[in-house]
Amino acid sequence: MKKITFISCLFLTFYGNIFAQKTVKYNVYLRSDAGTDTMWDGRIIRVYGIASRLSEAPHIPAKTLYCNEGDTLILKALSISQGDHHTVHLHGLDATTINDGDPATSFWLNHQQEANYAVYAAHAGTYLYHCHVADVLHVQMGMYGLIVVKPRDGSNTTWTGGTAFDRSYNWILSEIDPSWHDSIPVHDAVVDTVHIPPYIPKYFLINGKTETQLPVNDSTVIRGTSGQTIYLRVGSIGFFYERLIFPSWMHAHKIDSDGRPLDEPVQNDTIEIAPGERYGILLDAASNKLDNINVEFVNMNTDSIWSVQHVPVIITSSSVDDSYSSSGDLQIFPNPTESFVTFSFSKKENDQAIIQVTDILGKTVYSGNAILPLQLDIRSFPSGIYRASVKTKNRSFHASFTVYH
């Protein structure tokens, strides 16, 4: 009996150490003094943001923060706001009033003021953090990021006791109206009051990237090996809602929202997400496929689609090599296509490629140089079969693809 008790105690001590919850602390620098991001067309946009080091200029979005269920998460915030004010709102983590970062109910930080925002991470899931001072402006300017609370043991499961997955991706969706960034609306004397200009976004972002930036951004492109399960965490922080349209073969199903499991999974190829919401989506990578996830950005007032962004999905039979160190074969997808086509090597090559696309009569309809992947807008191409020629320093490839409208 003594032996059993001793072993039990030993086990509990060991188990307790394995899953001992802890305090996870991040430094966050709330900056409205410096920061730019470059859009796909080369336009440089002035941004505010949340940097993780004092020497670092902010970018959209802020770094994703991680902790485990049961941890205490502390954000040590320093405001570099010049004449402005900032806070950190722990969106969805149900913080107490003092830690909520809402200037209407709690404190705000003046220039060079610092404070800790603390919250107990009670539930695994996807959350947001953003500045809540004049939030319509400071969020638009870029002061936001994701918080991921992993299961208690930090494992690759959707929540403690949830579904296991092989790979995960985090997407945060937003927009930019450059006119707000070119001529930043001035605050009134009242801290949280701002006169807002008309909102006419021009750039529609996934993890701060858009259009041709998406296929070359490792955080957005969905890669996997056939047979794997992929878990996509998505948060929306813009002023539009989004419609994610998944290839049917991925069997997309929502399994959690706003940091809580849904009572039962909802399978649908089209998933809508509105500002402030988060969803956890399980995706099947059953077999080798090259495809796109299309993300429609929809005006909240008119229900009209202002932009469709295309994110490549690359599922291969060999294990995914995230270092992209060796050369590989040319891939063209989706094929057939109606709007965009992506040229990619199965393994990344750093050499410039010369890409030429000809129609069925041999007429060149596109030519250019790029480091692949390259996403090409073919909406102006007439329906038909096209031949692509891709040449690098040492190799050349030829392949066909079909355009239909």
Partner: protein, 285 residues
């Protein structure tokens, strides 16, 4: 037996303290909507008196109750009256005339009543509200959320029609009020003490989608008319599309003051001034 009397007292206390009577007569009124900026524009409302009030009537029922409603058209043009789930009983009402509608509300939930003539123009002008059916004895709050574009109200009141084409609303309200005025609406301002459970009945009678985010709390959905939201879900952000409604349950587990607002942050404004729109601060004691 003792429990029955306690429940009965709680029930009557709940419905009388919130002053939500079960109106039998409704008036379709035309009036002037006064914004938080003290500007005005033409508007419609459905009220329990013949005096225009931007706060549309909340019709409360208990499951199994038959609602016998008389609707009086207090306006100078033809109007209609329909209820979601009961559209076969829609009526049209000539100016100065009345019509009756009898609804057997057999299930708990939330329903929207609305003006079915020139749809959605008169709804857009304000003629829409909620019917709630509940056995709950919890303290209840009622949010009719909506947005308006002042110039469009002027246009429609002169005979124009609502069009979503270039819709760009500039006023965002809860029960016809913007922050901070909404803080004084006792039917909307959410409050309670630790340990309380409160119910929030919310309909979107506007034409835009609104994504309502609660600080400090996750709420449980008890009923939903929206295909995007299911009963049983627990969330902090609730996207409510046009002419949809939800019933939410909030369990108060901590004290403090917490905001609730549309997370389309442009909607937390009035006449392009932030924060004057769809925004309220809850008080938990």
């Amino acid at each position: 037996m003792q429990r029955f009397f306690v429940n009965a007292i709680l029930f009557f206390a709940a419905i009388t303290s919130e002053a939500i009577a079960t109106p039998q007569t409704l008036y379709i009124n035309r009036g002037s909507f006064v914004t938080i900026k003290k500007t005005t524009f033409p508007s419609l409302a459905v009220n329990t008196t013949e005096v225009y009030d931007a706060h549309n009537a909340v019709i409360a029922a208990t499951p199994g109750e038959v609602l016998n409603l008389t609707i009086i058209n207090n306006d100078s043009v033809l109007h209609g009256f329909s209820v979601t789930g009961f559209t076969s009983q829609s009526v049209t009402i000539k100016p100065g005339k009345s019509a009756q509608i009898h609804l057997t509300i057999d299930k708990e939930g939330i329903y929207l009543y609305y003006d079915s003539i020139q749809y959605p123009s008169f709804v857009y002008l304000g003629a829409a509200g909620m019917i709630v059916s509940s056995k709950s004895t919890h303290r209840s709050f009622y949010w009719n959320i909506k947005e308006q574009q002042a110039s469009l109200n002027e246009s429609i009141s002169r005979g124009g029609k609502f069009s979503k084409g270039n819709y760009d609303p500039d006023f965002f309200t809860i029960n016809g009020l913007s922050y901070p005025d909404i803080q004084a609406d006792t039917t909307a301002k959410i409050w309670g003490s630790v340990g309380d459970t409160v119910s929030i009945y919310m309909v979107n009678t506007g034409q835009s989608m609104h994504s309502i985010h609660f600080h400090g709390f996750h709420l449980k959905c008890l009923f939903s008319t929206s295909p995007n939201i299911r009963a049983g879900w627990e969330k902090d952000s609730w996207p409510i599309k046009s002419m949809q409604g939800v019933v939410l349950e909030l369990v108060i587990d901590k004290i403090g003051r917490y905001s609730v607002h549309d997370h389309n942050l442009v909607a937390v404004s009035a006449a392009k001034t932030h924060p004057n729109g769809m925004f309220m601060i809850m008080e938990m004691k």
